[in-house]
Symmetry: C2
Amino acid sequence: MDMTAPRRPNPAHGDCSKVSQILARVGDKWTVLVVMMLGGGPKRFNEIRRSIEGISQQMLTRTLRGLERDGMVTRTIYPTIPPQVEYELTPLGRSLLEPVMALGSWAQAHIPSIDAARAEFDRRKAG
Amino acid sequence: MDMTAPRRPNPAHGDCSKVSQILARVGDKWTVLVVMMLGGGPKRFNEIRRSIEGISQQMLTRTLRGLERDGMVTRTIYPTIPPQVEYELTPLGRSLLEPVMALGSWAQAHIPSIDAARAEFDRRKAG
DNA sequence: CGGCATCCTTGGAGATACTG
DNA sequence: CAGTATCTCCAAGGATGCCG
């Protein structure tokens, strides 16, 4: 059997590329930080920006747009002066938090092992 | 003063940068695929390569080195002719599979919602 | 067969400045 | 305050070739 076929619309594999997209999003430098921040309730643009050290305004905009597009976040404009925009997690966005936190916990728990492995690996390489 | 050091060694935050590294690894284009492949048991280099459509030999090498460095994978050289190298998940690597699979399942389950959200978002923007 | 070194292209992060 | 537009720059990743 030839496994080289580029794309298989095999239902058993669901849509593998879609899953990859989600994983990539979780691995994104800012997305998880933003989602966790919003986990505490609705936030305004600059409120988020100030709470995430090091993020540029453009990266925050892009991150929020991506999340909005995927239905993880809602964007509400209040036509006040000055303009006010509030972001809030949707149920979908909130549900993402669970597996992500699980992964985060795993990471937390295994940091020592990983650090040890790295030190060992680097030590060998250095000789 | 050097600001390149991780910001706060706050135990409550664990080591946030370390956690980010793990998340980034999971979001990596190839790492998860390789780990899942090895979840089925030890595999040889080209065996892995053939089973992952589209990966270059260099990317596979880099991915495996990274995993090896982090203690997720062991590398065993059999001094045969021609040389034979086998990769296998460590217990640590296997334990990573659990939260990753959970995230994968979440992704699978919510693909329809996400697709719908995207379509809606794009429709608005275009329309 | 497995792995490294080298070169090259490109996507996208990030800074800056402008608009509504 | 929130968002867009433009530019620069770098590193991720692909292709190729040689070595053990």
